[in-house]
């Protein structure tokens, strides 16, 4: 297994902050800790997490909660952060999806427009997928106008599929 880990450089941190600003028009400093680290266990995904504790001369692989993932060559914010933003500022850039659509999505599939019950604007470059059965966030998609489909960028089944 390939392991890469270390402190996240400032320009990379800024990419995550600017993604949140673009998507949700929020002050990202409230949601993104000042010190971030990353761990890549194999190539994809890389996990970006907040770093708080100084515990000595140990190799730390993960801490606190995840802030973002780097997957499919793009950053995806954590579900917890987006939940916090929605709680503070209301839901934006999201689709509410039928149970069957969510089921397929959690196996890594894309979402057909027919599965979408509701769309919450403004729709940005990354769209949050909300499970209609319980209102939970289950991942993120992008709209592909050529294929006329919501392409899976990240779903919560990824932890099981990629990390075990």
């Amino acid at each position: 297994m390939k392991l890469k880990t270390g402190a996240l450089r400032k320009p990379t941190r800024e990419k995550i902050s600017s993604l949140l600003r673009r998507l949700y028009n929020v002050d990202s400093s409230k949601y993104v800790p000042s010190t971030l680290r990353y761990v890549c266990l194999n190539e994809d995904p890389c996990i970006i997490y907040g770093s708080k504790l100084d515990i000595g001369d140990l190799t730390v692989l993960y801490e606190d909660s995840w802030i973002a993932l780097y997957t499919k060559k793009r950053f995806v914010p954590s579900i917890s952060i987006v939940q916090s933003i929605y709680s503070d500022h209301g839901i934006k850039s999201a689709i509410i999806v039928k149970e069957q659509g969510v089921k397929a999505f959690l196996y890594g599939n894309d979402i057909l427009p027919d599965s979408v019950i509701d769309t919450i604007p403004p729709i940005g470059e990354l769209i949050t997928v909300i499970d209609s059965t319980d209102g939970e966030i289950v991942g993120f998609v992008t709209w592909n106008p050529r294929r006329r489909i919501y392409e899976n960028i990240f779903d919560i089944g990824l932890f099981l599929r990629k990390l075990g």
Binding site: M1, L3, V39, L41, N42, I47, L53, D54, I55, G56, D57, L58, T59, V60, L61, Y62, E63, D64, S65, W66, I79, S80, V102, K103, L106, D131, E136, V138, I156, G157, F159, L160, L163, G164
Partner: protein, 340 residues
């Protein structure tokens, strides 16, 4: 503390009797393994144990109480076709009595949303309940992957801001551990990659609670992994015992005064349990074995003698979980407190 492999091998060596050889052929074990069962339990008791290992154990769903209450989870899983039964001594957990054809218990939406963890058996809940009873603080889980106990401790300590320091040496198992923490949205955690024997040189703090669920022969889990009947030779066992002594001895240096370490194995082998703890007690005078603070079930007592070996009488306070008595994995748990 220096311990020689040759000394361990000599002390734990077992020659199999004719009875043991016959039973080992019948049940497919290495003869020395069965001889030990006869020595501890008698011939009839050994047969009961061997029979118990042939029976399946029930998997367990443990609710992630940080995200959902257990009644709501039970209702949701029962709607999917799972039949669950409450575990009387662990209010957040259920035995899975029967499952639908699809989905499996490890692939429901509820699982992916982090609402629960699936244990192969209920035994692994016991050391967590005992170690964290009436405790609000940080804990070191020195051999934490794949994370059943670490995620349980994190959810129990979530409300009181206690942090679980989850360490392991095996990278691919750490990947699974991290995945569980992320899936279950448990944030009071730190994951580190280190040989447990070297933690004392690298950590800049001590702990009031340490879980030492050490890598072992897994002799208590034969019911789900029959390969273990023949996997561990006496020499392999001696190598494991040496490592177990080294890990426990090293971790005690990370214990605060009056702190408690739970030495845990999913093994019923006296060599990996009472023998290990006895070695530590004979080399250190600042430790005592403590009674379990909760009686979750009617525990088996720790052994104070085994074949020609005599152990510290305090080891009777250790807990043995027997497959043929408790219907669970075989487990041994010793709680040790550092004296002031």
């Amino acid at each position: 503390m220096r311990i020689e492999l040759a000394e361990i091998y000599r002390e734990i060596y077992v020659a199999a009797s004719r009875d043991a050889i016959e039973l080992s052929l019948e049940y497919g074990y290495l003869p020395y393994v069965v001889q030990r069962y006869i020595d501890i339990l008698g011939y009839e008791g050994a047969i009961k144990l061997l029979e118990a290992f042939e029976k399946p154990v029930k998997p367990v769903v443990r609710t992630n109480t940080v995200l959902i209450d257990s009644l709501r989870l039970k209702h949701r899983l029962e709607k999917l076709g799972f039949k669950l039964e409450n575990i009387p001594w662990s209010s957040e957990s259920f035995w899975v009595i029967s499952q639908p054809k699809s989905p499996t218990i490890g692939s429901t939406h509820e699982y992916l949303k982090g609402y629960y963890y699936v244990h192969r058996d209920a035994t692994s809940l016991i050391p967590v309940h005992l170690l964290l009873h009436e405790y609000n603080g940080d804990v070191l889980d020195a051999c934490a992957a794949p994370g059943g106990k670490a995620t349980f401790m994190a959810q129990l300590l979530h409300e009181v801001n206690g942090v679980v320091f989850a360490n392991d040496l095996v990278l691919y198992r750490l990947k699974v551990l991290i995945s569980h923490f992320m899936r279950m949205k448990l944030s009071n955690v730190v994951v580190t990659w280190c040989d447990a024997r070297k933690l004392r040189d690298k950590l800049s703090r001590k702990f009031q609670r340490i879980l030492a669920d050490v890598p072992c022969s897994g002799e208590g889990r034969i019911s789900i992994d029959p390969g273990r009947k023949i996997r561990t030779s006496i020499f392999d066992l001696a190598v494991m015992v040496k490592r177990e002594i080294e890990i426990l001895n090293s971790l005690i240096d990370l214990l605060d005064d009056k702190g408690i370490i739970a030495y845990v194995t999913c093994s019923i082998a006296p060599e990996e349990n009472e023998y290990v703890v006895n070695k530590i007690l004979s080399h250190r005078n600042n430790l005592e074995v403590v009674e379990p603070p909760l009686k979750l079930l009617s525990y088996g007592k720790g052994l104070t003698e085994y074949r020609s070996l005599r152990f510290n009488p305090e080891l009777e306070k250790c807990i043995r979980i027997w497959p043929h008595i408790h219907g669970l994995f075989g487990y041994t748990i010793c709680l040790l407190r550092k004296k002031h």
